[in-house]
Assembly symmetry: C2
Homo-oligomer: 333 residues x 2
DNA sequence: CTGAAAGCGCTTACAG
DNA sequence: CTGAAAGCGCTTACAG
């Protein structure tokens, strides 16, 4: 059974499809309400669903946006994705999601696909030095907003970030105040600008307090596995330490597991602090002390920003920076 | 800067766009390799990206599929979504995701949107009695496969499920063998067929062992919150019990938190078992004993199935059922 | 080996 | 208040 088209409605109503288009899209400023009603009734009868592909071809707007995330399975990204989708949906946009696994080649292939689908814009959480993908976006005039992760050379593009360095400093200061001195830091992949920002915060704060010690720094990546591995390393290399600052929650979760396994009591034996405040940080016991990002807000605002640039609305600020908030829970004592 | 079109390439190459289309799509069985090369070269120069919207309009295939999940933030669904996206990507499909929050009205709106976008098919994890959405899909000839959650009246549609009842029975039997007798069961929302299936498994197994007791059953929903709430109820209503069988992992995680809070030692004081085997079940300590579903396989296979029905390939079996596997870890003793 | 033409289902100036 | 017509960028019989 063929799907009904505007032409079908037009025929049945005895008007032109121009008129049908007008009333369906509420542009018929001056179409008699009689025709309007008739058209709506027929549309209903025919279970008319507009073909937005045809619409897109003619308007060059698809009503869909793409989001690039490293891995939707990572709670931080799924929470952002959720917020984005909610906002998109409120504006009648659909969202296509792509998992880059932090591989810039995958990103590039996805970007091509998205462009070919005429996405109206993309929200881009960079997996690394993603300049090529971004250049393609630019070359094709596709609006995009960078989220969470800076990409070198594009600091002035539309972007939504949080104040990483400041957040880490807060965290270290708090630990210091709680009399921690040997504060281990687990950093994310140094390919990511954001890792370095966080590391800078740590370095600065530690130096401020005069307790900086390079051997306290471990590099890993922003996954559960990364947290585990780093922690195994720590246990192998360090005899004693007061606290571990993981540069995201997911790593902290992995780390806590390893520590518990090795008989450490948290927070009695070691204090732990994370970064992000994903939902999960509240379901472990004790609950994770962390430097919180307003994840949902970040997602929502980045989607709104994108839609604003798509619609060429006035943009008050191209770059939105969110503050972190230190959330004291049970893993620091 | 306007995006290049096939016409542009045709002009530059001095051929027709028919020819360009042929070579770009590898259908030019008999086009001179000279022209082919020329066309590819020009396409390259112009950074040509095909407009797949135009393509879709003419072929009536969009190369995108939709997936309906209750909430992408729930690890079980994000893991399925990931598997689906991986498979889709391998076949050059994109995926649009929708969060229904288990609200059938939201589902319906999304389905309309997806149809208007001409998705080639949808993978549907039902949020409840979703028959209306499914009817719309049917009426519009959009292929779909049901995943994880049965929907009444559509048991014979394309679907990918796991053997819920059998899985639960395995779990209860195991607990019984470990000398648990007072086995509490936390069921999911009774609106969901799948909850009832799991509950049936519990009831049957408990009766088999002659230890069935209705007051041991608590209904909640498949979320962390749901697990917490149910556990508070249990603590309020039951004086003693040997084990709690949560009907999914996420609930178990919420439950463990509450139990730990109340001073229970796991597994010394209570044994816990979940269902699903999400990644997270391995990062809590002790690791969660659970009835595992092959989540990734379910996602992958449902995507493959969908693509097969889209392409009208031979389908060996319309309904795929996966077996569960009891995974013994640290929360049962 | 290659092209002209119609068609996919919309939107949008333009005209009356 | 309403319609005819061109156009969006492809694909695909059909013809030569």
């Amino acid at each position: 059974m063929r799907k009904a088209t505007m032409q079908d409605i037009a025929n049945k109503a005895g008007v032109s499809k121009t008129t049908v288009s007008m009333v369906i899209n509420n542009k018929g400023s001056n179409i008699s309400s009689a025709t309007k009603e008739k058209i709506f009734k027929i549309a209903q009868e025919l279970n008319y669903i507009p073909n937005s592909i045809a619409r897109s071809l003619s308007t060059k707007k698809s009503g869909t946006i793409g989001i690039m995330v490293p891995d939707i399975t990572n709670p931080f990204f799924s929470e952002i994705a959720r917020a984005i989708e909610d906002a998109a949906n409120a504006y009648e946009y659909n969202v296509i999601f792509c998992n880059s696994d932090n591989e810039i080649d995958k990103e590039e292939k996805y970007i091509q696909l998205l462009i070919s689908k005429l996405v109206d814009g993309v929200i881009f959480i960079a997996g690394g030095k993603s300049t090529k993908s971004i250049d393609i976006l630019n070359a094709n005039g596709v609006p995009f907003v960078l989220v969470d992760r800076y990409v070198e050379g594009y600091e002035n593009n539309y972007g939504v970030y949080t104040l990483n360095k400041e957040g880490i400093i807060d965290g270290v200061d708090y630990l210091y105040k709680e009399n921690k001195r040997k504060i281990v830091f687990v950093s994310g992949s140094s390919d990511l600008e954001i890792s370095n920002l966080r590391l800078d915060g740590y370095t600065e704060a530690m130096k401020n307090h005069g307790i900086y010690d390079k051997s306290l720094i471990f590099e890993s990546d922003f996954t559960i596995e990364g947290g585990r591995n780093a922690t195994e390393e720590i246990l192998k290399n360090l005899k004693d330490f007061d606290a571990i600052f993981y540069s995201n929650d997911v790593m902290a979760l992995g780390g806590i597991k390893v520590l518990t396994r090795h008989g450490y009591k948290i927070p009695e034996d070691v204090s732990i602090i994370g970064f992000d405040n994903i939902h999960l940080s509240q379901i472990v016991e004790p609950e994770l002390t962390t430097v919180g990002q307003p994840i949902y807000d970040i997602g929502r605002e980045s989607c709104k920003l994108l839609i604003d640039v798509i619609n060429e609305n006035d943009i008050p600020e191209k770059v939105i920076s969110f503050k972190t908030e230190l959330i004291k829970r049970g893993t620091v004592k």
